[in-house]
């Protein structure tokens, strides 16, 4: 992975994903933070308060008006996680200069990032009181609203139970009691401390001929930033297997029960089995040709969706399905039976080849979407990993059936979480 790269300041670098085929380009900035619940909560609140207003654009209306003027440019702030690493991100996207009628769009976008991130509304070393107060309320409501999406809720609960004593299970949005106690002064300190100490990675996706320009603009805006950069160790706790299967059931007044099974694989991106595990997952539940889709859905008519996915940073696998609550035992056993079949190498050449073909297709597609490119590269830049969609494709195509079955044997179910519907009829 040899992306063009430029050092802007101590611990601040910009990388370029060169592509001249997009009409909409992007600059994404990530700031690394140690993963703990205080930081998660503060970072979430911070993203909301920063988007409320800054010195130059003091309210949402004026920030948005400027973005609209810049040909509907997007500027979003969010908190992101990869494995057990945690980032505050600023995402921007903007039209290529082909459509911006002479506007110096790159300069304007970098200026916007600078205004919103580096020049927030402060008085006496604290953020605007009213903004902090109302965003605390909004974030608190958002934490509560995690129950609205039942499938996600079940998956989060599965992770919480499975990784109870690992930071991986920390809520994505933060903790309400910690949130309650944050003052505008503390949040302001958190912000400037993060800007001073955090590692900052910036990723530009667009025509390579403008990368120098992007770097020059970023240098102009970020060079004044006081820095005391300390590199964080890049760690992620990986457990190779589950001690025993735990079944946990919760009830909610819903129509369809949500099943979420968390498993340990112990296989991460740097493991020599990673390609084989990815193929095994694809055979098991990664596509409409998979065992889960073909059997649990098509043959047994138990569900509309039933699929599996990997977290290759943490070494986990998840299976999610929406089922009739009374079918819990049947569905659970059917899913585990299909997993055993993959482990036993009970899949045809056809199943194996389709899995590889489908993966090849998805790796080759990455280069067609700005967001897919960013999702691939941004966490890898932070971790210093070299694999590209192309190298991954090579790994996957060199896997044999035996490799896939062997890798599958490393999967061990840990928590089976079931959100049972307590309502009989809609």
């Amino acid at each position: 992975m040899n992306l063009p790269r430029y050092k802007i300041a101590e611990g601040i670098s910009a990388s370029c994903l060169a592509s001249d085929k997009f009409k909409v380009n992007s600059i994404t900035l990530g700031i690394e933070l140690p993963l703990n619940i205080e930081n998660v909560t503060s970072a979430n609140l911070l993203t909301r308060v920063l988007k409320r207003g800054c010195k130059k654009y003091p309210d949402i209306g004026s920030i948005e008006k400027q973005l609209d003027e810049l040909y509907a440019a997007g500027l979003a702030l969010g908190v992101n996680r990869s494995g057990e690493s945690h980032y505050l991100c600023v995402y921007t996207d903007f039209l290529s200069s082909l459509y911006t009628e002479g506007c110096d769009i790159i300069k304007e976008i970098v200026d916007m990032i600078g205004e919103v991130l580096l020049n927030p509304l402060t008085a006496d070393g604290a953020f605007n009181q009213a903004y902090v107060k109302s965003e605390k309320k909004n974030l608190s409501d958002d934490i509560d609203s995690l129950i609205n999406n039942k499938a996600k809720y079940a998956r989060n609960r599965c992770i919480e139970e499975m990784c109870k004593d690992e930071v991986y299970s920390l809520s994505m949005f933060g903790d309400k009691s910690i949130l309650e106690a944050i003052t505008p002064k503390e949040l302001c300190d958190f912000h400037f401390n993060m800007l001073k100490k955090g590692r900052i990675e910036i990723l530009y996706t667009g025509d390579e001929k403008f990368f120098d320009k992007v770097c020059a603009e970023l240098s102009r805006v970020f060079s004044q930033l006081p820095r005391e950069y300390n590199a964080l160790p890049c760690t992620c706790e990986v457990r190779s297997s589950a001690e025993k299967i735990r079944e946990i059931t919760e009830e909610m007044e819903i129509n369809q029960g949500k099943l979420s099974i968390g498993m340990r694989t112990g296989v991460t991106n740097s493991d020599s089995d990673i390609g084989a595990l990815i193929v095994a997952n694809e055979i098991f539940g990664g596509s409409p040709n998979s065992k889960l889709f073909m059997n649990v859905r098509e043959k047994m008519s138990l569900c509309y969706y039933c699929s599996s996915g990997l977290d290759a940073v943490k070494g986990l696998m998840f299976v999610n399905a929406g089922i009739e609550s009374e079918n819990y035992e049947i569905a659970k056993n059917a899913i585990l039976k299909q997993l055993d079949a993959v482990k036993a190498g009970e899949f045809t050449d056809e199943e194996f080849e389709s899995a590889v073909n489908s993966l090849v297709n998805s790796y080759k597609s990455v280069s067609d979407s700005v967001s897919a490119l960013e999702n691939w590269y941004m966490p890898r830049i932070f971790r210093g990993e070299q694999d590209t969609p192309e190298t991954r494709l090579k790994q996957v195509t060199s896997v044999t059936k035996e490799d896939a079955a062997r890798a599958a044997k490393r999967i061990s179910p840990d928590v089976i979480f079931f959100l049972r519907g307590s309502k009989k009829e809609a």
């Binding site: 209306g61 003027e69 309320k137 039942k150 129509n255 596509s287 509309y304 067609d368 979407s369």
Partner: protein
């Protein structure tokens, strides 16, 4: 010759496509894009609304159960030799899917290799129906789970609560997938009847987008497609009065905070596709201008803590129904509705300034340009415009042509307090 291809260009978008009338009756559109992924969309102008229809010359209308277009979409994936269509695609590596909307059923795939093999599979399975009592029954469990999944989805429930409040008769208020009861009436006979009516190639279109060779696409069409007889389908939709069915509607669900949607029904729908397109462009700009984050309405609601996130505003404009809606989360939906009614009166006396209109228009144009980075978005937008009787490039022209006066006129005519409904999803007590 009838089947010559025509090239259509847009200098503004820096894009082009070709149109070709295949001898089978199918319109074939090839949109060139220099991306790794190619995409094909084969669709019929047939959606959940088309529950009552006949062919020209037939005496009586046929009525079919709700949800049948969607059911048919699922069943098309089965083949006479017992092979599942997904298994056929697996050999090419294509990622395949299908969807059913109000007015269209579409089958699609995207791929980076073996495009023409996948295209052959697509054209083949969609033109070869095979339904038996057994396979039809087997699908009921799967679709029932799909319906029940959406029953728990607050966003979907909110949408249908709103449609149910706005519409007295029109079947847009009926869930695309139907109900667990209505789909239990579906038989192979019904499926064949719908298939034979709507999957006539004259009622269908193919859009291919990517780095593909047009002539090879036509060759595959020659190889797979048999000519369909000329046909004219007459669809009947229930007549709909201007008045809403009810001022408000609500459902209780396991949510943490109320969700609301406000809709404004519009029954003045032109028969002329170009007129409809013009109105759609106008409505899209007006939604951004009146409910976007730079609007005074959004600013006030947000500052007062009545809403927290965005207001998703949109103008839905179809051959048979049309409405403006916006939705969000609020601890007090009734107050939002009150504020909205006041806002309507206020902008009629003091309309938004000209520069707000210009900005909204600039945003809609920029958003539209963004579509052309993805073969998937291009093809899907492409055919929905085609089935509406216009083209994707016409929409950019329509947006550019909208004037401030037209936008204000649109807002003044469409926004009437008496044609508004409020829908709510409330937390369980």
């Amino acid at each position: 010759m009838a089947n010559e291809k025509t090239l259509v260009k847009s200098d503004y978008l820096h894009e082009q496509y070709s149109v070709y009338k295949h001898k089978s009756g199918l319109d074939v559109y090839v949109f060139k894009k220099n991306l790794s992924t190619s995409y094909a969309l084969f669709a019929t102008k047939y959606g959940s609304l088309d529950n009552k229809f006949k062919l020209a010359g037939e005496k009586d209308f046929t009525c079919v159960p709700d949800g049948i277009a969607h059911y048919l979409e699922h069943k098309m994936f089965e083949n006479e030799n017992g092979e599942d269509t997904f298994v056929r695609y697996a050999k090419t590596g294509a990622s395949a899917n299908a969807y059913t909307s109000n007015s269209m059923t579409a089958y699609l795939f995207s791929c980076t290799d073996n495009f023409y093999d996948s295209l052959e599979i697509l054209l083949d399975f969609v033109t070869k129906p095979y339904f038996t009592r057994e396979t039809v029954e087997k699908e009921q469990g799967i679709i029932a789970q799909e319906i029940r999944m959406y029953d728990d989805n607050p966003g979907t429930r909110l949408y249908y609560e709103l449609l149910g409040a706005m519409y007295q008769n029109h079947n847009v208020k009926i869930n695309i997938a139907g109900t667990v009861e209505s789909i239990s009436e579906i038989t192979p006979e019904y499926l064949y009847m719908c298939y034979n009516t709507f999957y006539n190639l004259h009622n269908m279109a193919l859009c291919v987008c990517g780095d593909v060779d047009e002539d090879k696409v036509y060759e595959i069409c020659d190889k797979v497609l048999k000519a369909s007889p000329e046909c004219e389908i007459i669809r009947e939709y229930p007549s709909e009065p201007a008045e809403v069915r009810s001022r408000s509607a609500s459902a209780d669900l396991a949510v943490s905070q109320p969700l609301f949607a406000i809709g404004v029904k519009d029954v003045k729908i032109s028969k002329d596709p170009k007129e409809r397109l013009k109105k759609e462009a106008c409505g899209d700009i007006v939604c951004k201008m009146l409910f976007g984050k730079t609007s005074s309405f959004f600013g006030e609601l947000y500052e007062n803590g009545l809403i927290a996130g965005d207001l998703h505003a949109e103008y839905e404009h179809n051959e048979s129904f049309s409405f403006v809606s916006f939705d969000g989360k609020s601890n007090d939906p009734d107050k939002v509705f009150e504020a909205f009614c006041k806002y309507i009166k206020q902008f009629k006396s003091t309309p938004p300034a000209r520069d707000e209109f210009e900005r909204a228009k600039r945003v809609k144009l920029a958003d539209f340009i963004g579509i052309f980075d993805s073969t998937d978005e291009i093809a899907n937008e492409f055919l929905s415009f085609v089935f509406d009787g216009v083209t994707i490039f016409d929409y950019a022209d329509a947006l550019k042509a909208v004037t401030y006066e037209e936008a204000i006129e649109f807002a003044n005519t469409v926004f009437n307090e008496e044609y508004c409904s409020l829908a709510k999803i409330l937390p369980l007590k």
